[in-house]
Subunit: 120 residues, 3 copies
């Protein structure tokens, strides 16, 4: 049973990336592109993670030509409790992109007072 | 490794159903029955998802004769962070019922201002 | 597909332990040791679960000699939405310790008004 648990945890954790890893290499040459996949209009979202690219999860399958296979995408939704981030992640991985879910989602990022930006 | 991640995500996501899918076919002939599995007394719960059937997760194994194998059960607990919904889901699936966990749980439903009802 | 779902749920749920199980046998002879793995300084944590042992997840790999293979460790982080508890759990299990993640994390424990203690 322990082997099953270990394998489960390894796979589960391999889906995620932490904010430190993303922030350490932030900037124009970062290998990471933060992808805001929230299915909400701008007036509801109001702000996003600094320098994020916004493609709603519902539009992701039809927007893959806007993405770059040399980059690693870090998707996030409002909170860690939703399944939207994992839906987006599945679309990206099955289409051959490198991608992770942001650990703790937007909620965790804001809770740590990490850089945000207003959107219009 | 990517195949493992994809398989994991597919199985994980196959456990959940979103509120849209449930609401689109709401009504007396809906194939879905929303099942409130919170282990809390009525005075704590106060309200529930409109038209939900309430069977606490702790009573579910001994209440399976009240369920209908032609229906698909959509279980929910307070939040997505608890394991109670998954405990209920496991009981239902191992007993041959069709069932999903409601994505984002009661918290997400209320956050979207979807229909609720008072309970007494 | 149902077998896959059932196996997934069984493994997922096998990672967790509920507060009741821990509290029922609380005391100096308890088989359980609650392990606070939050990566935060004392002035941020301020309080912890009563009688918890604090080892930050980031220090866990280098602190395994402080743990007892006869005990069962119950790890917790702030909320159920983080991946830190699972990171700690993976370290413990791969090193041959018996361990679970506390279902609903500190958030759930406090939400139920279960015993806490100040830390200094």
């Amino acid at each position: 049973m322990n082997n099953k648990k270990i394998e489960f945890l390894e796979t589960y954790l391999s889906l995620y990336i932490g904010h430190q890893e993303v922030l350490e290499v932030a900037g124009p040459d970062s290998p990471y592109v933060i992808l805001d996949v929230r299915n909400a209009p701008v007036q509801v979202k109001k702000e996003q993670i600094k320098s994020a690219k916004a493609i709603a999860a519902k539009d992701l399958s039809s927007s893959l030509d806007k993405l770059d296979k040399d980059k690693t995408y870090v998707v996030y939704d409002w909170t860690a409790g939703t399944t939207l981030g994992k839906q987006a992640l599945l679309i990206l991985l099955t289409n051959g992109f490198k991608a992770f879910e942001l650990s703790c989602a937007l909620e965790g990022w804001k809770g740590m007072n990490l850089p945000m930006e207003e959107i219009k």
